[in-house]
Subunit: 348 residues, 2 copies
DNA sequence: TTGTAGGCGTTATCAG
DNA sequence: CTGATAACGCCTACAA
């Protein structure tokens, strides 16, 4: 009845180790941190005590003293979206390499949830913050930033605050995507986009418009809820219009999935009846029939770059004004826009 | 040059708040924790000071004193695998609801990496540990468990340690999967499995064997590296054997993707030339042509159940001997095993 | 209703 | 080389 006193686990402290090894607290600490000036004999005595007791140092106490953690906070929109999952993977990889832990939170695109998570993370004294900002004003981060908390925005820049950010070439990618369809002779090219409050969608829409304008083709833009369900519903509507499109640009991977699902149910064949191209490639796009032509984003690199930049800031390896890193995208030409006609690997 | 002194951020402490509000430390603390016995006037004075200073309480110090964090450690195999991503999503959802943070780590199925992560997490004094155990002996967790650290295994039980675990009906699911093929008249049914050191694969193989034995059909088991690449390579080999299979059971979603990719490249048509069924459904299985018949695992629920159980343990709401929770799976009958013939929703 | 003293587990300082 | 002693920021007694 006295074992397992729920809640506070009963762990030995460094003091216990010191007592067990018959040395002072400080000496035990020295051994723990591999400091010099400890007789080998004493050192091994302490080490023995550590293993004998199953001692695990308390990072809470340590970082309280040191004033700095080795944890980075990551706030993304949605873990189950493979794009963000890949980003997180990239972040985790770099974090591990450089000895940091990652606390993960998903905002579900909500500014309120995001703020709550950031608050929580700050309380945990994260060494730096990595986030995919939700739509809306982020000046609330100003106070943290000015206190010296390194912040790197991932996938989208922060609005209302100048900070480091790691992005991809959204506009160029969307333009290339649209031009690809145009080159295939498509003219009624629909774009299914999410709210322009979200940077990536705004930029991609811009790229689409540029391509359409350059070709002198009228735009066909539908603002939708950029989810699988939203895209499916929009597709059904779109295809029942008097003059339906001959091709669809999907603004993200969720939309691509939704469009494809709806087209399948409608019995519309790709690319014969309709061409489809998506922004943000996913694993199965090369496995599915027809293979999907997609604008590929280097999602893992995105996470890795962001984490690298953040940790460089944390460690003072990078200083100076906020940096904006932009990673290239490329069009993976496959079959969903029709037969290839000697298109090269169109860069964004 | 004195701002931004890299590293240690310059944050106000509760003492600063107290000074600013002209009260004692304790009073400030009382306000912070919404304790009674503070004059409203004083309370608001302190609150003002808090916002004026942009004070954020230091959870490190607080939990050091309190002896318990509200953080749970999650170690999964691979974030970019949608199955684990879903599990993580379920965990995150419950954690958020109940006021916990999640520290995420990916072991890549390596026991060594897993151990390192667990060590790190323990140092951070996580309140509980959730892990998808890598293959191998987990008695190393014994010491933590005996110290009272709640541990819940996710997706697979721990070997060498009796602990809570949340699993799915692997054997029954695999058996149902195989029987489905048999009912479709398939006889040369190959199973592509990963190492039996991993519990889920062992159980699924067992389910397959049971079904095959019951039908009196010879087994056709291939042990492979259960990744996209491994499965693709195995498929190519398999199909070039003198007597290739007429159907393939895929042991997880990676394998399903690999098999499908290889079949596509080989020009083998599903389900006409070959039937395919997979364990662990994924989003696109319903969008792809042919639509894929799959054994669906409740991945989000898996994460949610595990997190719930863990937090219940942490909070002492659940006590008693280790519990094993098993969640049902179900066969999602679609098109990749041939035309439906009045199969009901075959439960596992 | 408010304040004072002491300690959580570490590490840093500075004598031995 | 080693060891007292004082922080780190907060909270829990226990007074006032």
């Amino acid at each position: 009845m006295d074992r397992q006193n729920e809640g506070s686990l009963n762990r030995p402290t460094l003091k216990d180790v010191a007592r067990e090894a018959n040395v002072s607290l400080k000496t035990a600490s020295r051994v723990l941190n591999d400091e010099r000036y400890v007789r080998p004999q004493v050192r091994s005595r302490v080490k023995d005590a550590i293993t004998r007791l199953g001692y695990r140092s308390n990072d809470l106490a340590r970082t309280l003293k040191l004033g700095t953690t080795r944890t980075i906070g990551l706030v993304i929109a949605d873990i189950s979206n493979p794009f963000y999952a890949s980003c997180a993977q990239g972040v985790a990889r770099v974090a591990r390499q450089r000895g940091y832990s990652v606390v993960l939170s998903a905002s579900d695109e909500g500014l309120q949830a995001e703020r709550e998570y950031v608050e929580l993370l700050v309380r945990q004294r994260i060494a730096g913050l990595l986030l995919v900002p939700a739509a809306g004003d982020h000046s609330y981060l100003e106070s943290e930033r000015s206190r010296g908390l390194p912040i790197v925005a991932l996938d989208r820049p922060l609005t209302g605050l100048d900070s480091d950010c790691v992005l991809v070439e959204n506009e160029a990618g969307a333009r290339a995507m649209t031009e690809h369809l145009i080159a295939h002779g498509r003219r009624r090219i629909a774009l299914l986009s999410g709210s322009l409050d979200i940077y990536t969608y705004a930029m991609r829409l811009q790229g689409y418009r540029l391509a359409m304008a350059a070709a002198g083709i009228p735009e066909m833009i539908r603002m939708i809820d950029p989810t699988v369900e939203g895209a499916a519903a929009a597709t059904v509507e779109l295809m029942s219009e008097p003059e339906p499109p001959d091709s669809i640009c999907c603004v993200n991977n969720r939309v691509t999935v939704g469009v494809l699902g709806a087209l399948g149910r409608l019995g519309i064949s790709v690319p014969d009846d309709l061409a489809v191209i998506g922004f943000d490639d996913f694993e199965l796009s090369d496995v599915v029939r027809p293979r999907l032509t997609m604008v590929r984003q280097p999602s893992i690199d995105l996470g890795m770059s962001a984490a690298t930049l953040l940790i460089d800031r944390i460690e003072g390896l990078e200083s100076g004004p906020p940096r904006a890193v932009t990673l290239p995208v490329d069009v993976m030409i496959r079959d969903s826009c029709g037969p290839h006609e000697g298109f090269g690997g169109v860069p964004a």
